[in-house]
Subunit: 173 residues, 2 copies
Amino acid sequence: MTERGFDAVSVDDIVAAAGVSRRTFFNYFADKESVVFDPDPDDPALWGELLGARPGGEPLWVSLREVVVGYTGACAERMILQRRVRLASPELAGCSREVADRFWDAVREWAAPRAGVDGFELELVVGAARMILHASCPYWDASAGIGGLHSLVRTGFDTFDWTRHESRTSVGS
Amino acid sequence: MTERGFDAVSVDDIVAAAGVSRRTFFNYFADKESVVFDPDPDDPALWGELLGARPGGEPLWVSLREVVVGYTGACAERMILQRRVRLASPELAGCSREVADRFWDAVREWAAPRAGVDGFELELVVGAARMILHASCPYWDASAGIGGLHSLVRTGFDTFDWTRHESRTSVGS
DNA sequence: GCTCAACTTGCACTCAGTGCAAGTTATGCC
DNA sequence: GGCATAACTTGCACTGAGTGCAAGTTGAGC
C-alpha cells in the first residue's frame, strides 16, 4: 500500500498473501481500512495507564500535554506506518478518526471530574490538545524519530498555554 | 436519509426519485456522499469575499472569528441539512472534511502574508479556529437558529484569546 | 435540414462487504 | 481411543458502489 497506494491493493491481494479466504478476512476486519487503521486491542488499557499516571494537582493543560506525548511515544510504530499509507493515499486522511475519537473520549471522561469545567469548555480544551497533535503531524519528519513530534507537540502546548485560563476556571483550589 | 439513515437510501432510490439513470447520477456526483456533502460551486467566491472584507489592521484572531461567523451564517441551510443526515448516520462524521479542508486552506493562504507567522504556528492558529467551530457544532441547538452557533463560536474564541500571542509574534507593527 | 458538441443512457465489469450454511479443527471429557 | 461441542474457516450467492465504453439522444447554430 505504501508503494502502490491503498486502492491498488485489493482484498483479494491481501488474502492471497495471507493465505486465508476472503470471508475469513472479513471475519476479522470490518473493512479494508481496518487492516491499517484498526486500534490495538489493548489500546484502552494503555490510555488508562497514561491518564492514571498523572499526579493529582497537575494542571490540566500539562496533563494533556504529557498524555499526548506518552500516547504518541507508545504508538510510534503504528503512527509511522499509517503515515506512510496516508502519504501514498491522501484520501485516507480521515481514517483513524474513529480510533482517535475513542482516545479523546477517554481523555474527556478522565478530565471532566478533575478539571471542573463544563461540557463545552471541556470540549474546547480537549479539542485544542487534539488539534495540536493533528497540526504537528504534517510538520514532523518521521525519519528523525518520535522525538521531533514530541517537541512540536510541546511547542504547540506552549503556544496556547491554557494554564492561565485554568487559574480562573478551576473550582478545586 | 434523515429518516431512514444514509445506508438505507441506495443510489437506485435516488435516481428513481430524480428520474435519471444510474450512470447519469455518477456523471454528476463522484459518490453517494457527494449528494449531501458536495460544496456549493460558488463557495470559494464566498470565502474570498469574507476574507477580503477584513480590515487591514485587524488582529488575526478577530478576523478568524468573524470569518467563521460569516461562513456559518452564509451556509446555515446546508449545515443544518448535513447535521440532520449526520445525526441519522453518525458514520458520516468525517464526511465534509474535504470541503472544510479547502476552506481552511483558503484561510491559511490568506492569513500567511498578513500574520507573519511561520508554517507550524499558522497551522496552530488556524487549527484552533477550526477546532472551535468543530467543538461548537455538537453543542448547538440548530432548531434555535444560527445565532446560537455564533455565540458558541464567540465564546470559543474568547476562551483561547490568541490576540495576546499576536503581540509577541506579529512582525508588522 | 445538417453538423457538431453536450448530455444521457445501457451494459458489462470490478471490487467491497454480508448472510448463510456447510465443512474443518481444536478442546475437553468419558 | 472415541465422542460431543464450540470455535473457526470457507464457499457461495447476493447487494450495492463505482467505472469505462460505446451507442443513442438532444439541442444549438448555421
